[in-house]
């Protein structure tokens, strides 16, 4: 909310400096967003008089002026304004002044061969309006030589504060003044003094306007007064100047009065042109499909939940949010109805949200205006109208009741210490509360002022006391600390995540964070998502991802478009599924993707190498191992899903159902859908499926390295071509569990010497003797067992 320093001082009798006021505003929770003094931009601009005006010798459209800047030394100025003439009093920018509109520094210069010292300014050049047809013309008696900012009353800092949603009372200058007075920065002037109202009420004549409320839920109170015989010209200068200073364009006297009262007192009003109404006004629920052309020029279609003000024929106001164009006041308006109503905050909020319509009135009503201020608000408005537009006021019609039940709560002043940690003297607490408008009983029963809808418990009173007393008095108090060093806090899942992340980075993968939502098309390419947003920000961000692959593919594609030759990306994040009970089932997953040149061209071997499925498998195994998965027990199976090349992908499982990882070459059509080319390999590790390690203490299983050296034996088997190598290796390894400690495939061969439909697999078997070396017989028996095991898979020892 914006206001000027002088405006604030209408309500607050203070000699505090601007600096003190700004600090106090921040301290009490009215955050200063900005402060600007328009006069600072006007340095070097003076009231000056044109003494002579002659034609420029070289240019038809220019004149050469002699300008008196007030110091008795007239200056020669070249000017292009058609209205420049001898005798004109205007605004002159001296050499060195900076033109507010364009930042130009005024310098002595020759214009078409004639020397010019400074500039006579237009309204637009000084950012005072849009007019640029000529230079500013001031009244002839304007004091030549004085600073223009002083003359125009611009030396008045504009303060912009942000108001938290609970403080409707500070959405009027008076509320801000009240808070500052409570802080001890001065005293609050009586309202009648601020408005220079004479002691007597405005004389009234005749019955009040015909208004009623049929919707006491949305509009509990509708107070109104008519004024007949008004002249709606321009607002008084003091009012227009205040409104202009905060960026509100003056419109007409009646409209400006409603805007002024709203900003000054936080009390929105509406004025109807009585001539444009047929019959009385009623606050009622809108009919479904009813339309209204609002003052912003847009037509809104209403529904039955919205409160409107209507006459017999039309809707004239979206209650508490925006008036209608049809019954708005104009220059020709003579008779008006002034509305001062109370709209229920929740209704206003809902209607405003549904219509997507914000306004200054809505902001105030939806936060809850002072329900006890209808009569006074209306009286002030009527006073201003009769004072500045003339006319005769009617009596006041009061339809409904705003509901001003007194609200009390019992407070204990020691709460300030126990909740805020700051000891504030009870007497000081009482003073603070009373200055804020609370009434405090001897027994600390606190009556809440009608304008403080936000106060509903003792903690709120603590907040009031502490914010005025000063939060800087809250002492920094250490939290109690458990004895000893800090205890570990990470959960097993957090440890898995951390280890997987750092292992991936150590293996040369770069961690990205991709959006959790993807497009429907992308989701469909990985099997479809369970959760689709009702109100996505774009079609690209609509479905909660069931896979990390689309995000990685998009990121890879962006990098390739930027000229990357190698992409190695990973992400740790959740995949989103729906549990059977409708709740969210979010599974922590590590996705990785590698594309481009696995190794760049090099002087050693010339060609760049592409990735293959085993690169993805290697990453998957290494990262699972780092994350603590029992890698030696994993089964290698297929069915990695449609995202992968059907023949170059696989899964790693712990038991047939628990998939810990999928990996492989991505399906060429998926790669193409993301505008990528070449072989792209990827993997997903399902971190949530990794079993947590059982806590067994720090002691390792006892171990001493065997005394005797291990021996190796090589076996080559001819096996059916479709036999998976892993099953042969596992079988061989299991052939003699006592002696065989490892089996490793070291050759795969098809071709010359190997029958079609078969292949040769060579396995190196490691044998670990116990306390005695193997005899020839023992080695023969182990070999026989290995061969026999391989035979069960259809393998024969290669001769």
């Amino acid at each position: 909310m914006k206001f000027t320093l002088s405006w604030l001082k209408e309500h607050l009798d203070t000699d505090a400096s601007l600096e003190t006021i700004l600090v106090a505003l921040n301290d009490i929770g009215l955050e200063v967003e900005g402060v600007e003094n328009p006069a600072e931009k006007m340095a070097g601009f003076k009231v000056a008089k044109v003494l002579t005006a002659d034609k420029h010798p070289q240019a038809d459209k220019l004149q050469v002026l002699t300008v008196d800047p007030g110091d008795g030394n007239p200056l020669q100025v070249v000017c292009g304004a058609p209205n420049a003439r001898a005798g004109l009093v205007g605004v002159f920018g001296v050499e060195g002044a900076v033109v507010p509109a364009n930042g130009m520094v005024l310098k002595k210069a020759a214009i078409r061969g004639v020397e010019s010292n400074g500039m006579m300014c237009s309204v637009r050049e000084l950012e005072l309006g849009e007019d640029h047809d000529g230079i500013i013309e001031l009244p002839e008696d304007a004091p030549v030589g004085t600073s223009f900012a002083d003359y125009a009353g611009l030396d008045d800092p504009v303060i912009d504060i942000s108001i938290t949603p609970n403080r409707q009372d500070c959405m009027g200058v008076r509320g801000v003044a009240r808070d500052l007075a409570a802080k001890g920065l001065g005293t609050l002037n009586p309202l009648a003094q601020v408005y220079r109202m004479t002691g007597q009420a405005v004389a009234t004549q005749g019955r009040g306007p015909d208004v009623r409320t049929d919707d006491t839920g949305g509009c509990p109170a509708f107070f109104a007064q008519s004024v007949s015989g008004v002249t709606n010209s321009v607002a008084p200068a003091w009012m227009a100047q205040k409104l202009k200073a905060i960026g509100q364009k003056p419109i007409s006297c009646l409209v400006d009065i409603t805007n002024f009262v709203m900003i000054d007192l936080g009390r929105p009003l509406h004025v109807y042109d009585k001539a444009k109404l047929s019959g009385g006004l009623v606050a009622r629920k809108a009919k479904v499909g009813e339309e209204v052309l609002a003052l912003n020029g847009k037509t809104y279609t209403l529904d039955e939940t919205m409160t409107v003000i209507a006459d017999d024929a039309h809707v004239h106001d979206i209650g508490g949010i925006m008036g209608g164009e049809d019954s708005g006041v104009s220059d020709a308006t003579t008779d008006v109805i002034i509305e001062c109503a109370y709209f229920t905050p929740e209704h206003i909020a809902r209607t405003g949200q549904k219509l997507g319509l914000t306004s200054d009135a809505r902001q105030r009503f939806e936060r809850g205006v002072d329900p006890a201020f209808l009569d006074e608000g209306l009286a002030i408005a009527t006073w201003l109208v009769t004072e500045h537009c003339g006319g005769t006021a009617s009596e006041v019609t009061r339809a409904g009741d705003p509901g001003v039940a007194p609200r009390n709560l019992s407070y204990d002043p020691t709460l300030t210490l126990s909740l805020a940690g700051v000891d504030v003297d009870a007497a000081e607490q009482r003073t603070i509360l009373e200055r804020l408008g609370f009434e405090v009983g001897d027994d600390w029963t606190v009556a809440i002022p009608s304008w403080r809808r936000d106060i509903d418990g003792p903690a709120d009173i603590v907040e009031e006391v502490v914010r005025i007393h000063g939060l800087d008095h809250v002492p920094s108090t250490p939290l109690p600390r458990a004895p000893g060093v800090a205890q570990p806090t990470a959960t097993p899942e957090q440890k898995i995540e951390r280890r997987a992340r750092r292992a991936a980075a150590a293996r040369g993968l770069n961690e990205a964070i991709n959006w959790s939502f993807i497009s429907e098309k992308e989701a469909a390419s990985v099997g479809g998502g369970d959760w689709t947003l009702a109100n996505p920000i774009s079609e690209e961000m609509k479905v909660m991802r069931p896979s990390l692959l689309p995000g990685l593919l998009s990121a890879a594609q962006r990098n390739m478009d930027r000229g990357a030759s190698l992409v190695r990306l990973f992400e740790i994040g959740r995949r989103y599924f729906r549990a059977t009970d409708g709740s969210s089932d979010e599974r922590l997953t590590l996705g990785l993707l590698m594309a481009g040149d696995k190794a760049p061209r090099s002087w050693a071997d010339g060609k760049a190498a592409p990735f293959d499925a085993f690169d993805a498998k290697a990453e998957a195994l290494a990262l699972l191992e780092a994350a603590g998965a029992p890698v030696a027990n994993l089964q290698m199976m297929g069915e990695a899903g449609d995202a992968y090349h059907p023949g170059q992908s696989g899964t790693l499982r712990l038991g047939p159902k628990n998939i810990l990882a999928e990996y492989g070459v991505l399906h060429p059509s998926l790669v193409k859908a993301f505008d990528l080319s070449g072989t792209v390999v990827a993997a997903q590790l399902f971190l949530n499926a990794i079993p947590a390690k059982r806590k067994t203490g720090f002691m390792r299983a006892p171990y001493a390295p065997p005394a005797l050296q291990a021996v190796t034996r090589d076996f080559a088997f001819i096996v059916p071509e479709d036999l998976e190598a892993d099953s042969l290796v596992r079988t061989v390894k299991g052939a003699d569990k006592k002696n065989i400690v490892d089996a490793r495939l070291f050759d795969v061969f098809t071709g010359a010497g190997v029958e079609p439909g078969t292949k040769s697999l060579a396995v190196e078997v490691t044998l670990q003797p116990g306390d005695k070396s193997y005899t020839e017989d023992e080695l023969f028996a182990i070999s026989a067992a290995v061969v026999k095991a391989a035979e069960k898979l259809g393998g024969t020892l290669r001769g």
Binding site: L471, N510, A534, V567
Partner: protein
């Protein structure tokens, strides 16, 4: 006698002149082989009188030893020369580059989350998590956010058309605060947790992204007050920025789930055109910037979680993790956090070995 002297001189001269291992071997066979000249002399020893042997023996043995040593020396010298020549021929251009090993990196958001976990663990806070797809009770209602609060509007919050088993609207959590509710409804106080994670708001411009990261803190205990909150945040910020001159400014504010509510500003100074956290915001080159929202947990929130607010009270705070990362490490574009640009990731990312520790410092 003179024959032996002459033989020795001749043999040694020949060995010294030999310029190949083959020649040396030929000389060895000629001198020390079965038919060799020296061997022949050795054989004569057996037929000598003791007197002859006493005078001739040492001379002949000396001859044998000298020749043997000379052959070994010559052989070693020739081998060394051959090796030197071979090595000289194997010279490589050692300025040739080595193979490029790809350098991985940890995302700044992950790094900062690890830093936060480390700092808060020392203050006794565990890391709690919750789902990102939440119900409106935990995201709003339980946090004392009224039905008509603007944050609930479709233009701020992402909703799903689905409802959960209790009939609550499902949405993307707009803050990490629902983790407060999940913690208080599932765990007996005293509670000290932080809850970092992804949050979502329907907002996208130069400084806002529809997805970002927050961290929430919650302490529920007996006798906890605003002073503890102030100390906790002061201590945290000092540890995080590794500066002792952190100055906080507390400003009254408003959040539906805390009362009193306090906004936390931290002082900064401008150094080389960048805001650097530290010092008083009121200093000549200084300013204040909002870094955290916080307050004492509203008694209605405590009640909503089934706890007795007359017995338990505490504080909560929240801030943006991305923002903390930006303030500490100097990135200035939030959108780049979620773009996956490898150049950016390599520049602003962290090494796998930069594990934050208290002894090594949490910053890297």
């Amino acid at each position: 006698m003179t024959d032996i002297v002459a033989l020795k001189a001749g043999l040694l001269a020949d060995i010294g002149r030999a310029d190949s291992l083959a020649q040396v071997e030929e000389l060895r066979v000629g001198a020390l082989g079965k038919q060799g000249a020296v061997t022949a002399l050795l054989k004569t020893l057996g037929g000598m009188t003791p007197e002859e042997r006493q005078s001739q023996g040492p001379v002949i043995h000396d001859l044998r030893e000298s020749v043997t040593a000379a052959i070994a020396d010559r052989k070693a010298a020739l081998e060394q020369a051959a090796l030197d020549e071979k090595l000289a021929s194997e010279k490589l251009d050692m300025t040739l580059p080595v193979d490029i090993v790809p350098q991985g990196s940890v995302h700044p958001v992950s790094q900062v989350m690890d830093e936060l976990a480390e700092i808060f663990a020392d203050m006794g806070f565990a890391v709690a998590t919750g789902p990102e797809i939440e119900d409106d009770w935990r995201n709003f209602t339980a946090l004392n956010i009224p039905e008509t609060h603007p944050a609930r509007a479709m233009h701020d919050t992402f909703y799903f058309p689905d409802k959960d088993a209790e009939g609550c609207d499902m949405l993307l959590r707009t803050h990490t605060s629902p983790v407060q509710i999940r913690t208080m409804t599932s765990q007996e106080p005293p509670i000290r947790i932080i809850a970092p994670g992804r949050v979502y708001r329907s907002d996208s411009d130069a400084t806002h992204t529809p997805m970002f990261h927050q961290i929430e803190g919650l302490v529920i205990d007996k006798g906890i007050h605003l002073g503890h909150l102030k100390w906790t945040l002061e201590t945290f910020l000092k540890a995080f920025f590794e500066r002792d001159d952190i100055v906080l400014r507390l400003r009254p504010s408003y959040f539906p789930f805390t009362e009193p509510s306090v906004e936390i500003d931290v002082g900064y100074t401008i150094e080389k055109g960048q805001r650097v956290i530290g010092g008083s915001g009121d200093a000549p080159d200084g300013g204040w910037m909002e870094v955290l929202g916080s307050g004492m947990v509203h008694r209605r929130v405590i009640e909503n979680c089934g706890l007795n607010p007359d017995e338990w009270q505490g504080f909560a705070f929240g801030t943006g993790v991305d923002r903390l990362a930006m303030l500490k490490y100097g990135m200035n574009d939030l959108r780049a956090f979620f773009d996956g640009d490898l150049r950016w990731l390599r520049h602003y990312g962290f090494s796998a070995l930069d594990v934050p520790t208290l002894s090594g410092g949490v910053g890297a």
